[in-house]
């Protein structure tokens, strides 16, 4: 029998037995929606961790200079050579950002209260405006501000009871460890309560350099942004090789422990390190792995429930249709042809389930992202402005669809096989097997 006839027959049978299939359709749609919502949200949570880290560290791949002559200050003094190394590596990047960081040696004072920062970043706002879309602060606004500007985290602003437009005193330590201060105008309060963003502030790089006793063209790290993290290991190796040719470089850093070990060594002057975002992230990789493991476990349980309910339903369904299948056999349909028709029926059911399930999953995700989860301790790292976000890359979507098709296939393979092998006379008489 030609394929198109088999398809037409399968469509007709599916319509004809639609009432019988309703329970299975509901189960499959609901199961698919849950699996899709679960994987989308967990993927969104992981994306939020990486996005937060990208904004925090300022890139995906970094060159950092560690100056042992100045208490291991992070400092790059030769931009020309570093830029030459990046060019020589022949890596295609989207953007380069240069940042100065005084880390936890920055304190914000306001009205007698002090809040120590975990990071005070000096940035080139003209190059990083898109990193702060919620603040509305850009190079033009920065140029119009008379005083040095500073953007503070919401938590810092709340602790100091200040708002945008207030003047604060920023205290930092110079690279030689002396206190220095300057008055700054708070130009934005960043609504970022994540692990990275709780106590960090951003100010102009050249201003911070001046305050820290660094030259105007110096910085702590050069960050390269790519479209995504794919192939980051290879890119890091290429950059490492290029840096090694022009600058005194540390050995390749594959994980955080390597970085810690290398930093414990002594050397004269500045040594350059090539570090990728996953190396920084290795501290929270366990957390991400746990999230992924939990998500896979929930995925497996859902898939099993779906399989079990499909198995039972198909068994009943095909049992009820035993006379009809026997009649088809009596009319001369081959067992293989009947099996094909039944599988096409199942495939049609799976397609409808996927469509309904996908729409349902969007609804679930939309409902879940209506609420703010920022108050859950330790959960902020997975959120975007306190809310859950979803992400469903095509490969993950294909896997989810494959699960539904595989479930239907597995659920029907044995009952369908049995139904075409039954004793024909018994089946036609409506007898039980």
């Amino acid at each position: 029998m030609q394929l198109r006839y088999k398809l037409r027959l399968a469509g007709r049978y599916l319509r004809g037995h639609f009432r019988r299939y309703i329970f299975l359709l509901i189960a499959l749609s609901f199961g698919f929606s849950l699996i899709t919502a679960l994987t989308s949200i967990s993927n969104g949570m992981i994306d939020n961790v990486y996005t937060g880290a990208e904004t925090h560290y300022g890139g995906h791949l970094f060159i950092l200079g560690f100056d042992k002559d100045h208490d291991t200050a992070i400092r790059i003094t030769d931009d020309a050579l570093v830029s030459a190394a990046v060019a020589a590596s022949d890596i295609e990047y989207e953007k380069i950002v240069r940042r100065t960081n005084c880390f936890e040696r920055g304190v914000i004072y306001f009205n007698g209260k002090a809040v120590r920062q975990k990071n005070v970043f000096g940035i080139d706002i003209e190059n990083e405006t898109d990193s702060f879309p919620d603040t509305g602060f850009d190079a033009e606004t920065a140029g119009a501000v008379g005083l040095p500007w500073i953007m503070l985290s919401k938590m810092t602003a709340e602790e100091l009871h200040l708002q945008s437009g207030d003047k604060v005193i920023l205290e930092v330590e110079t690279i030689t460890g002396q206190k220095n201060t300057a008055e700054c105008l708070v130009t934005a309060v960043m609504n970022d309560s994540s692990l990275f963003g709780s106590f960090r502030s951003f100010t102009d790089r050249r201003f911070l350099n001046d305050l820290m006793g660094m030259a105007q063209d110096e910085y702590s790290s050069m960050g390269l942004y790519f479209r995504n993290l794919r192939g980051i290991g290879e890119k890091a190796r290429r950059l490492q090789a290029a840096v090694e040719t022009v600058l005194p470089a540390a050995p390749e850093i594959a994980e955080k422990a390597d970085l810690t070990y290398q930093l414990s060594q002594q050397w004269p002057g500045i040594r350059y390190f090539v570090v990728s975002l996953p190396v920084y992230m290795s501290e929270i990789v366990d957390l991400i792995s746990a999230l992924e493991a939990g998500s896979y476990a929930a995925f497996a349980v859902l898939a099993l429930i779906l399989l079990a309910s499909s198995l039972v339903t198909y068994r009943l369904l095909l049992h009820e249709r035993r006379t009809e299948i026997a009649t088809m056999r009596a009319l001369g349909f081959h067992g293989r042809t009947i099996l094909n028709i039944l599988f096409f029926e199942g495939a049609g059911l799976a397609v409808i389930s996927v469509l309904i399930g996908y729409l349902l999953s969007r609804l679930i995700i939309m409902l879940l992202s209506l609420f703010s989860y920022g108050s859950i301790p330790g959960f902020e790292i997975f959120l975007n402005n306190g809310r859950l976000t979803s992400s469903l890359p095509p490969e993950l979507f294909i896997v989810n669809i494959a699960v539904v098709f595989a479930t239907v296939g597995l659920a029907m393979i044995f009952p369908a096989g049995r139904s075409v092998r039954h004793d024909l006379a018994k089946a036609l008489s409506g007898g039980d097997f």
Binding site: Y109, N111, G112, K113, A114, I169, E171, E173, T174, T176, G177, Q178, K179, N180, T181, A182, L211, G213
Partner: protein
């Protein structure tokens, strides 16, 4: 003739300025010598009370042992109960903090705050004013009942926390007050030492009052600065056992 007078006048000014700078440096050396113990050890009990306006007072008690000749000190925290047994060990340029709970030593900076008070870890080491600062200006000043010399100092190395300082030295050569300034010239901290006690020929502060100039709160409509008062009792210049200036001592004492 007029030109010659001007030149002579300028020359005299330069000489006088030089003399006063040298005098200032001598004063610094004297001040250091009065409170340092290069030939003996020093020990005392310190009571440190931090007063945060609007939040109340918190108290820390500790015992300090100093051996200036080897640039060492040991501090053992005795109060509050929660921090009891914690300790600091300074050996040359390295400062260790010991936590009996984790039983670990972590290196810390002498520029860090001591036990979250307004005192710095560097406040407990020997005085090195003459070595660390150059005198920029010397003038006479009255500080309460004391006739003082007011020295404006500028750090000559990167090792100090505050690059600028104003120092009041009374006629007996003792430091009575000092103000710490940031690199940009902002007043950060004021320290007053109203009275000293003597042990032998050495002077040890009785009270030290540290005022944080940037920290405080408005109380009853008035800005009140955060302050820390240090009271020093039972000072001694008796020789201490060598084993006291070691990690083992801190580990044993907390058990």
């Amino acid at each position: 003739m007029r030109k010659i007078c001007i030149i002579i006048g300028l020359f005299c000014l330069i000489i006088l300025n030089g003399v006063s700078a040298v005098d200032g440096q001598v004063l610094l050396k004297q001040a250091d010598a009065l409170v340092n113990f290069p030939e003996t050890d020093f020990s005392a009990e310190y009571s440190i009370v931090r007063d945060v306006p609007g939040e109340g007072k918190s108290s820390t008690e500790c015992v300090i042992f100093r051996r200036d000749s080897e640039e060492k000190y040991v501090i053992v925290i005795t109060e509050p109960e929660i921090n009891k047994g914690q300790g600091y060990l300074k050996q040359g340029d390295t400062l260790w903090f010991y936590d009996p709970e984790s039983r670990k030593f972590n290196s810390t900076s002498s520029k860090n705050r001591f036990q979250n008070t307004n005192a710095r870890n560097s406040d407990f080491t020997r005085s090195t004013l003459a070595a660390d600062y150059d005198v920029e200006k010397t003038e006479s000043a009255k500080l309460g009942r004391y006739n003082c010399t007011l020295l404006t100092l500028k750090a000559n190395n990167d090792g100090v926390t505050y690059p600028g300082m104003k120092l009041w030295i009374s006629e007996d050569g003792l430091v009575r007050k000092y103000e710490d300034y940031s690199l940009s010239g902002r007043l950060m901290r004021t320290t007053a030492i109203p009275s000293y006690q003597t042990v032998g020929k050495k002077f040890i502060p009785k009270y030290i009052l540290i005022v944080e100039n940037l920290e405080g709160a408005v109380v009853d409509g008035k800005f009140v600065n955060e302050k820390t008062q240090i009271t020093i009792t039972n000072p001694s210049l008796a020789r201490q056992a060598d084993s006291l200036f070691s990690k083992t001592f801190l580990e044993n004492i907390s058990q």
